[in-house]
């Protein structure tokens, strides 16, 4: 205490040193940002305030692109589709990947093989994957509906019925969870085994052990996945394009696959309205920021960092 109050200059010096070290460590990203990102980001923000067709000089519009958004029914539709896939998709995919990682983290025979198998679907290129989906989801001969008919359910017309196109995508999304599983596996290595020992001695059930030991230790990873999946889901693009291509239209049946990024892309590259598309991008940015902010704020309650004091 006495040291502190007597030498504020020293503290400041130390603070400055810490700041310098911090900036030094983070300088790769900061430099990269200044070189590669600052201009594109600033440009897109400027475009969002203009009418810009990619060739002629942008014309100042102020906030008109933004106010226009609220009058665009496809803005709402594409946002709805995107929210749908986010809300229905993210948490189940995350939970599924976690369960798989927990299973794979136990000592079982052929563990390496299993781990490899779970990773395989993410390696199938989209062109090959889409062919498989078409076959699986074929309402008459598809494997899924055949399976459903065994238990007496008439399966839906997955690819054609606009009510079922998005659930089809969520279903297919489970195959892409391999990378999340891999990251969870890495995180699970950081859980000190001694805690399980202690819990076992206390007679805690496996379920309890999971919540009191495993979950806290992998909570930083869960936070990461939640945020990243949220961002990715709001930018949902490729799978929607591939799927819609199969139905020979940009937005799929009744625009049920017109996701926000796809509509944005259409505005920019097909309608050449880069100003409007940029406004869409910044609107999405604000929405994602909002959700991410909420998750980060609540994370203090459920994320535990081993490095915290």
């Amino acid at each position: 205490m006495t040291e502190k109050s007597s030498n504020t200059v020293g503290i400041r010096k130390r603070e400055r040193k810490v700041l310098l070290t911090g900036l030094l460590f983070t300088s790769p990203w900061i430099i990269g940002f200044l070189i590669f990102q600052l201009y594109p980001v600033a440009a897109s923000f400027y475009y969002s305030l203009t009418e810009y067709n990619l060739f002629k000089a942008p014309e100042w519009l102020g906030l008109r692109n933004y106010t226009e958004l609220f009058r665009d029914e496809k803005f709402y539709l594409s946002m709805y589709n995107t929210l749908y896939i986010t809300i229905v998709g993210v948490v189940p995919h995350l939970a599924y990947a976690l369960v798989m990682a927990l299973l794979l983290n136990t000592k079982v025979k052929g563990q390496s093989i299993y781990r490899t198998i779970y990773f395989l679907p993410t390696l199938v290129p989209a062109v090959a994957g889409s062919l498989l989906w078409m076959w699986l989801l074929n309402s008459q001969y598809g494997l899924i509906n055949m399976g459903l008919s065994y238990i007496g359910i008439t399966g839906p017309n997955w690819l054609i019925d606009p009510d079922w196109t998005k659930p089809s995508l969520v279903l297919m999304g489970f195959w892409g969870t391999g990378t999340i599983t891999v990251m969870y596996l890495a995180a699970l290595q950081d859980v000190p085994k001694m805690f399980y020992e202690a819990a076992e001695i206390d007679g805690a059930s496996k379920w309890r052990q999971f919540w009191t030991v495993t979950f806290p230790f992998i909570s930083p990873m869960t936070l990461f996945q939640l945020i990243m999946m949220l961002i990715a889901s709001f930018q949902y693009f490729t799978e929607g394009m591939v799927f819609a291509e199969a139905t020979q239209s940009t937005g799929g049946p009744e625009n049920s696959l017109l996701f926000y990024s796809i509509y944005l892309y259409q505005q920019a590259f097909s309608f050449l309205d880069m100003g409007y598309a940029s406004a869409m991008a910044w609107m999405l940015f604000m929405v994602v920021m909002f959700f991410a902010f909420i998750i980060f704020k609540t994370s203090a309650k459920w994320v535990y960092y081993g490095g915290d004091k």
Partner: protein, 294 residues
């Protein structure tokens, strides 16, 4: 480095466990069953890819579905490899992917360490900015970025694909930050008292401890850059410079798709990553024992 001894201790405890009880054995059986079921589910797409790659066009689209081809068309593979400069594209892709891995493994851990373990003023703000940059959809920044690379005379070179990796991508920075924040402070505290510099702590203590995380990042970077289609397509003009994912398009004609060859090429496309993954995933198990034995 108390936690290291903890880890090895717990490992030895686990290995000296007594015979499993009936209940435990039942548990392991259900676990096996679950893994098997899920395994089949996950194996499906790839098995389908492999099976399709040796089918004739008649069998690929047969309705109802033909599981096992009447005749194995291995020629799909030789045809595919000869139809496009497969070796060349593979080497190009490997070159780009490995450099991306190298770049990301240099830049991302550094930045992540700064964010996770150096309590400098404004680091939360910086973290927020880093996160914010990936919340803007890439379609909006694609053309200004192209303008930038064009001004730097880098269009039609590999630089636009590789260079950004050497400055760290937000995704991997965030991932590593989460790992680094999970490492107890005591690990670096004693070294600090000994007067070790921050970089020494990073290099000699934190990095070795984070092997599973670093391997994960390396794997993911490799995978993403191997599969990337958009960037190589946009930035590479000369066909000799193309990567595999762009090359795969050669099988897709406007009115006619060479399905057999496409599937064979897709299977070959995935092969290097499978091999890489098989070895990397072992690190997840070995990671702790190795650092623990130091």
């Amino acid at each position: 480095m108390s936690n290291l001894s903890l880890a090895s201790e717990s490992l030895s405890v686990e290995s000296s466990k007594k015979k499993p009880s009936m209940k435990k054995r039942a548990g392991s059986v259900t676990r096996h069953l679950l893994l098997c079921f899920a395994g089949i589910f996950f194996l499906g797409p790839f098995a389908y890819l492999l099976l399709t790659s040796v089918k004739s066009i008649d069998d690929i689209f047969a309705v109802p579905f033909v599981w096992w081809p009447k005749e194995l068309y291995w020629t799909n593979y030789s045809n595919a490899v000869n139809f496009i400069p497969f070796m060349r594209y593979t080497m190009n892709t490997l070159f780009v992917s490995l450099l991306c891995v190298a770049g990301e493994l240099i830049a991302a851990p550094l930045t992540a360490y700064g964010l996770a373990r150096i309590p400098f003023k404004g680091r939360n703000f910086l973290f927020m900015i880093i996160m914010a940059t990936i919340m803007l959809p890439s379609q909006a920044t694609m053309i200004p970025l192209y303008v930038l690379f064009n001004k730097m005379n880098m269009v039609n070179t590999y630089w636009p694909l590789i260079l950004p990796a050497f400055f760290g991508a937000a995704y991997y920075i965030f991932l590593l930050r989460q790992f680094f924040m999970g490492i107890p402070q005591e690990v670096s505290e004693s070294a600090k008292i000994d007067g070790a510099s921050e970089f020494r702590i990073y290099w000699q203590i934190i990095l070795p401890l984070s092997r599973p995380a670093l391997f994960t990042v390396g794997l993911l970077v490799f995978l993403n850059s191997w599969k990337d289609y958009q960037l190589p397509l946009i930035y590479l003009n000369d066909p000799e410079k193309w990567t595999l994912s762009v090359g795969l398009k050669a099988f897709i004609g406007e009115y006619n798709i060479e399905w057999g060859m496409l599937m064979a090429a897709a299977a070959l496309f995935a092969l290097p990553i499978i091999i890489l993954y098989f070895f990397v995933q072992k690190v997840f198990i070995e990671g702790i024992t190795m650092t623990g034995s130091k």
